[in-house]
């Protein structure tokens, strides 16, 4: 199998991964699945990079992929934290609930909102204030009244 045929195969796999991810991202409303789809697109791009790097005999592509993996890991942590917070706010993973953040007076695409009887099931702890509370300076407040 020659080099370009090998490249083609990898590119097809990459494109398939990317396309699946894209379609998934557009069609699904579950936030975790959307997140997975986004990761899938990222992997599609990574496969592309590795393939081209191999084709050009250049390690730059692979190096870039290592970076992408690292960044993707960080991004995953943050994204999941955001998803979790959103879930706690609404009790649902449906992204359509958050279209209430649209501009005022715009119609909703999907009639979906947080159910009125939803109660957050868990109270999260608050940070205690730190540092020293400044005392009011009595001398600053009162002054000599006479000339």
């Amino acid at each position: 199998m020659d080099e370009s045929a090998l490249l083609e195969n990898y590119l097809i796999v990459g494109a398939l991964l990317f396309g699946t991810g894209l379609v998934g991202f557009f069609s699904r409303r579950n936030m975790i699945v959307m997140f997975l789809s986004a990761e899938m697109m990222l992997q599609g791009v990574s496969v592309n990079l590795v393939a081209w790097g191999r084709y050009h005999n250049d390690w730059g592509g692979q190096m870039l992929v290592i970076f992408i993996l690292t960044v993707a890991a960080c991004e995953a942590a943050i994204a999941l934290a955001v998803v979790l917070t959103l879930f706690h706010k609404s009790g649902s993973l449906d992204i359509a609930i958050w279209q209430r953040m649209r501009e005022e007076n715009q119609p909703a695409y999907v009639d979906r909102d947080v159910s009125p009887d939803y109660q957050p099931d868990h109270q999260w702890p608050k940070l205690t204030p730190s540092g020293i509370e400044p005392k009011p300076d009595l001398e600053e407040i009162t002054h000599r009244a006479h000339v």
């Binding site: 069609s27 958050w98 715009q106 600053e140 000339v147």
Partner: protein
């Protein structure tokens, strides 16, 4: 080894400046309630230096080189500004070059400002007076201001003030004089508004500053006019150009421009002096300035800063000599101010205000003396400045001591009979009153009499001055009455203490009584000492500005027959005034009520301060306020409206794009993908050539 005059001249302002910086930097964190120490120490140093300089100047003056008119010396520190060929058209007056007898000029004169200090008789006596009073006031204030949370700030300002004032009197250039003229005004503003939480104090500071602006505007115009007339702003001869008050010009009076220009310069200078020295019609700021701490009133608003105008006019005597009209204006303004101050002071009930109006009145006396424009008149004006500094500082500090004990109450109707409670304050205040009223042998007698005598002597030449002479005697009577009215109301009668004073009102601490005692001693002796030795006039006469031939030519005998007569009359007047005050205010005050009812219109006029504030409100404040409101409306409605109109365009544009914000994440992603697809498609199909 004693340091020479140049060293002393630099040292005198440098010490307070250093103390100011030290206090300002370390006062809040480190010095705190010790903040007075560096300042008192520096002022002591300055005072000692001033005395040494006074002695040396005296020595030098008596052994002056024969070709000199008077005696002066100057120290160049550095060059501040230099614009070559600044004045191309030859000035109206021939700015004679120093060496060349020709009046031929260089084609263009440079605008050159050197930081130059000068020493002469006038400067050295002013320096000694300023540093002495400020030293005593600083010591007094360390007791008076004790416990104030702005303690360090106060002493920092005091140091700055003494620095500015000493620089003002030792500057040898009109620009420097102007700079430090403004600097003392700034210190005055800062110290009037020292208790800035009080709305009255803040307003008084603002008023003082604004009223002074009018005077300073005149002063600035005078500077411009002098520059175009004489082509220099130096006092002394420097760099081959004869200074305005320099030896070359003094030796040859032809070099002074006369006529309308001279009158304009003098009147503008006088406007500046009116602002700073609280002369009619700009006197209205001084009574309000009493909102500041009392040591400040004593130092700045009685003894030193307000006399800057008198100093300036004295310094510029040669300029006034060529304009008799200006002399008449000075004399008239001085007399009118003295009369106004005296009349208003008669009925005020606020102890500090009585003293403030008395200061205005006495400053009027000084200007009256200067306006007489004979050597006797000018030296007596300066002499009065000198003695007044001692006894008025004493009176203010005494009033401060009373306020200190009375818990800040200054209304004389609310206390009385304090002589047993505060014995030291009582007798020192009495000395101040005797000096102010002009009772022999206290300081005020000698200087005030010298002025009145000078006026009377001038009346021999010009009969119009006879009116001023009688007027001055009437004012002397008023002075005596209001002074002793205040004295009797405060210290005699039944003992009354306001509730603010608390149960154990007592005499002030030693740090306050000691300066009072020293000043009381000065109020007793300075006049008599200098008068007996003829020292003051003889010494001041050695100033180049006053040693001038034209002044000397009018030098009628300083002591003459009429002087004794005038002395006798004015003593009689003073004693009558005292007697009247005693008759009215000792015992029950039924006569006062009767007199008030009899002279109701006069009483109302005096009590309302001749309604100057109200008149100025209608004439100036209200129109300006209306104008400001109109401008405000134009700004608010027209200009802001235009700007707001421009600001409304972007939101309208943005409203068109608003439907795109659907809140659906997928929609945003799709838009992004479509964007990329369109970009790539365009890139691929873009015609390359």
């Amino acid at each position: 080894m004693t340091p020479g005059i140049p060293t002393l001249l630099i040292l005198i302002p440098a010490l307070p400046l250093t103390a100011t910086i030290v206090t300002a930097v370390f006062g809040r964190s480190a010095l705190k309630q010790n903040s007075h120490r560096p300042v008192v120490l520096a002022l002591l140093g300055s005072f000692v230096a001033s005395l040494m300089m006074l002695a040396q100047v005296r020595q030098e003056s008596e052994a002056k080189p024969s070709q000199m008119v008077g005696w002066e010396t100057s120290v160049d520190l550095w060059n501040w500004a230099e614009v070559p060929n600044a004045l191309n058209t030859p000035p109206a007056a021939h700015s004679a070059s120093v060496q060349g007898i020709e009046h031929g000029l260089p084609a263009a004169l440079p605008f050159r400002i050197d930081l130059t200090l000068r020493a002469d008789a006038l400067t050295s006596i002013m320096l000694a007076m300023v540093t002495f009073i400020s030293l005593l006031v600083a010591i007094y204030a360390s007791g008076y201001m004790h416990g104030d949370r702005g303690y360090w700030r106060f002493f920092s300002y005091i140091g700055l003030f003494v620095f500015s004032m000493t620089m003002l009197v030792s500057a040898s250039n009109f620009v420097l004089l102007y700079v430090f003229w403004e600097a003392v005004g700034l210190c005055s503003y800062l110290l009037i508004g020292f208790w800035y939480e009080k709305p009255e104090a803040a307003a008084a500071g603002k008023k003082a500053f604004l009223v002074n602006r009018i005077g300073d505007f005149g002063f600035a115009l005078a500077l411009f006019l002098m520059w175009t007339t004489y082509g220099t702003l130096n006092f002394h001869d420097a760099h081959g150009i004869a200074g305005i008050l320099g030896q070359t010009r003094l030796a040859d009076p032809e070099l002074y421009v006369g006529g309308g220009v001279a009158t304009a310069i003098c009147l503008l200078l006088m406007l500046g002096a009116c602002g700073k020295s609280a002369q009619f019609p700009l006197h209205i700021w001084l009574p309000d300035a009493m909102e500041g701490p009392t040591p400040v009133s004593a130092l700045i608003h009685a003894a030193t800063m307000v006399t800057a105008g008198v100093y300036m006019v004295t310094r510029c005597t040669p300029l006034f000599m060529v304009s008799p009209d200006a002399q008449h204006v000075v004399a008239l303004v001085g007399f009118v101010t003295a009369a106004i101050g005296g009349v208003i002071a008669m009925t005020q009930t606020d102890l500090k205000r009585v003293l403030a109006y008395s200061t205005i009145s006495q400053l009027g006396y000084m200007f009256l003396g200067l306006g007489v424009a004979t050597l006797g008149g000018i030296t007596s004006g300066m002499f009065h400045l000198f003695t007044h500094a001692f006894f008025k500082a004493l009176l203010f500090l005494g009033a401060g001591s009373v306020m200190h004990a009375m818990g800040g109450v200054v209304d004389m109707r609310r206390f009385g009979g304090l002589r047993r409670l505060m014995p030291t304050t009582h007798w020192t205040f009495l000395f101040g009153c005797l000096a102010l009223a002009g009772v022999i042998p206290f300081a005020g007698f000698w200087s005030k009499d010298a002025i009145i005598a000078a006026v009377q002597e001038r009346a021999h030449d010009e009969p119009e001055f006879l009116y001023l002479y009688w007027g001055a005697l009437v004012v002397a009577f008023l002075t005596s009455v209001y002074t002793f009215r205040a004295f009797f109301m405060t210290f005699y009668g039944s003992e009354r203490v306001p509730y603010e004073a608390g149960p154990n009102a007592h005499e002030s601490p030693t740090s306050m009584t000691v300066p009072l005692t020293i000043l009381a001693a000065c109020a007793l002796v300075v006049g008599a000492y200098f008068e007996r030795t003829e020292g003051f006039a003889e010494f001041i006469k050695l100033t180049p500005s006053l040693a001038y031939e034209v002044v000397n030519s009018k030098n009628v005998e300083i002591v003459s027959q009429s002087h004794t007569l005038v002395g006798a009359i004015s003593t009689l007047v003073a004693l009558t005034g005292m007697g009247l005050a005693a008759f009215l205010y000792l015992g029950d005050e039924s006569q006062v009520a009767l007199l008030t009812r009899l002279l109701m219109p006069l009483y109302l006029l005096s009590h309302g301060k001749l309604f100057f504030d109200q008149i100025y409100n209608v004439l100036f404040v209200w129109p300006l306020w209306t104008l400001a409101q109109a401008s405000y409306w134009i700004d608010r409605v027209l200009i802001d409206g235009l700007v707001d109109l421009v600001g409304r365009i972007p939101p309208k544009l943005a409203a068109l794009l608003r439907p795109l914000q659907t809140g659906m994440v997928q929609f945003y992603a799709l838009a992004m993908v479509w964007g990329v697809v369109i970009l790539i498609f365009t890139l691929l199909t873009w015609p390359t050539h």
